[in-house]
């Protein structure tokens, strides 16, 4: 959970006009220092330098370090492999961006299906629940293998043979099951009085969902949605098992040729570098929404 907040916890304080927005969630680790004053800051700096300095010193002077350095942190191989990996990383970006779009749509449909009340909708609820149970249970890599190798072998007319197509389908199937549960938690967190008040205005169930429940639910679950998006992003590397040359497969190839693991480290860094801005972006979105709701308009 980003910033340690549960969904629904960032409800606005009514009438909190003079309260500053509490959107500064990225710096939670450093926040306690504000209360400590100059002495506290000094202690924090000294203890941090000492502890991290000791760790770095211990690693660099250990007997195994030269070997590790060569196997994992070879600068020449690093720069050489980084450009090749980046060249293929575009394929991962394509996979997870396309998959995410479908995940967000399919998962919302599933969540709404499962949130429908009334006996008529029982089959839809069962269907949605069964789907979630199934695709959350099976390991992602198995679904990719089953579809990636299995589906093209059926040779049905009109069904694509491309492994990348089936890899994306597999990721969409698995991740929409997770994301549906996130949406559903968000939908259930909306107080029934919100529904009552929309229905009291004469809005149908569908319009109540569309205008009142879902918009609030999605806002609440943005941080956990990002969690699953990052998961999906990382799992785009699983497509390598189909023999498709995306970034991980590329790193594997270089690694095997050079007898060196530095390409893997390079790829890990790529993932870290793209994930951090995403986390900050969602923090910013959440903070902006909160700010707008609490302090918007001309006072």
């Amino acid at each position: 959970m980003i910033g340690g907040r549960a969904p629904g916890e960032f409800e606005g304080l009514p009438g909190g006009g003079s309260t500053p927005p509490t959107g500064d969630r990225g710096s939670k680790i450093l926040a306690p220092l504000k209360a400590e004053g100059a002495r506290g800051v000094t202690i924090a700096v000294v203890s941090t330098v000492v502890v991290f300095g000791a760790i770095v010193f211990a690693v660099l002077t250990s007997s195994g370090w030269p070997v590790i350095k060569e196997a994992f942190f070879d600068p020449t191989i690093f720069w050489d492999s980084l450009s090749k990996i980046m060249g293929k990383f575009g394929r991962n970006v394509f996979i997870f961006v396309v998959a995410e779009i479908f995940v967000l749509i399919l998962a919302l449909i599933l969540a709404v299906m499962r949130s429908l009340r009334g006996p008529v909708f029982t089959p839809l609820r069962i269907l949605a629940a069964a789907y979630t149970d199934l695709f959350r249970a099976v390991p992602t890599i198995l679904v990719i293998l089953l579809l990636g190798f299995g589906a093209p072998s059926l040779q049905i007319m009109g069904v694509p043979h491309s492994d990348i197509f089936w890899a994306i389908v597999a990721l969409v199937l698995v991740y929409s099951a997770y994301v549906a549960e996130v949406y559903r938690a968000g939908i259930q967190s909306i107080h029934p009085s919100q529904v009552a008040s929309a229905r009291a205005l004469g809005l149908s169930r569908g319009k109540t969902m569309r205008f009142v429940v879902v918009p609030q639910a999605v806002r609440r679950v943005l941080p956990p949605l990002l969690n699953d998006f990052i998961g999906l992003q990382k799992d785009s590397a699983l497509v390598a098992v189909l023999g498709y040359t995306e970034a991980l497969r590329q790193a594997q190839i270089i690694s095997a040729a050079e007898f060196d693991f530095t390409p893997y480290v390079a790829l890990a860094l790529v993932y870290i570098v793209i994930t951090i801005p995403e986390a900050r972006f969602v923090d910013w979105l959440v903070a902006r929404d909160q700010r707008r709701r609490q302090a918007a308009g001309g006072v």
């Binding site: 008040s197 809005l203 308009g297």
Partner: protein, 250 residues
């Protein structure tokens, strides 16, 4: 009664599982009439109001709005609710929408008005109730009194035949009660038909044409406010009013 009642309730029963909350309510409200429902907490005031616009399904009995039975099978509940406005104790504004959007959502999405028409009416209503400068604010930014006034405007924007007010001042700080009560007074003066569940006895005495004392799921006593508040016939009514006086609230 010669003319059709704006609202008629006949033999209304409502249970939650084993608990029978309403045990046969009969009530008629004429057009332009203001009826206050008083009674202890848990006497069924809120349930009664929620049954009138079908937010709670009823177990037995009938509810008629201007002669049309809304508890009949196959009635379009959405259309009924458009004619019956309700304002809740806890405001229940939509926190992710501006004041203006809160007020125009119903007219646009339920009544099918154009955005321009809905906004024109909303702006006019917000102005009338001193909320014009709040139209672009989000509800969390407003005081409780302002939020409740917006909730009333939101219900009014649907141009309802009947307004139901469910203890609309109970969640407010004392200093904010008056601004909301004044809005309701203005509605009454404008001839709005209203059923008001309230704990504000002074207000009920001022505004009501008729007061109903709800006790253990039945209307135990009803009459003109002067009669109910000065010389209640039923012993339980007397006791209830005495407890209010003892609490210093009348």
């Amino acid at each position: 009664m010669a003319e059709t009642a704006a609202l008629a309730i006949e033999g209304l029963h409502k249970s939650f599982d084993e608990l029978e909350v309403l045990k046969g309510i009969d009530l008629e409200v004429r057009e332009h009439e203001v009826v206050c429902v008083i009674g202890a907490s848990g006497s069924g005031k809120s349930t009664l109001l929620r049954c009138i616009n079908l937010l709670e399904p009823v177990n037995a009995g009938r509810v008629l709005i201007e002669g049309e039975e809304i508890t009949a099978r196959g009635v379009d509940v959405n259309r009924i609710r458009q004619r019956v406005g309700i304002v809740f104790q806890a405001f229940n504004l939509f926190p992710h929408m501006t004041v203006l959007r809160n007020v125009t959502l119903g007219p646009i999405e339920a009544l099918g008005w154009s955005k321009a028409d809905a906004e024109a009416l909303a702006t006019q209503l917000l102005e009338r109730f001193g909320l014009a400068d709040k139209r672009d604010d989000y509800p969390d930014r407003l005081s409780g009194g302002q939020q409740q006034r917006v909730a009333i405007v939101r219900a009014l924007a649907m141009k309802p035949d009947v307004m139901l007010l469910d203890e609309v001042t109970s969640a407010l700080d004392p200093e904010l009660v008056a601004e909301v009560l004044n809005v309701i007074r203005e509605l009454a003066a404008g001839g709005m038909t209203m059923v008001i569940a309230t704990h504000e006895m002074g207000f009920a005495r001022d505004i009501a044409h008729r007061v109903c004392f709800l006790d253990e799921g039945v209307i135990l006593e009803e009459g003109a406010p002067e009669q109910i508040f000065s010389s209640p016939r039923e012993e339980r009514t007397q006791r209830f009013l005495q407890s209010i006086i003892d609490a210093g609230r009348m």
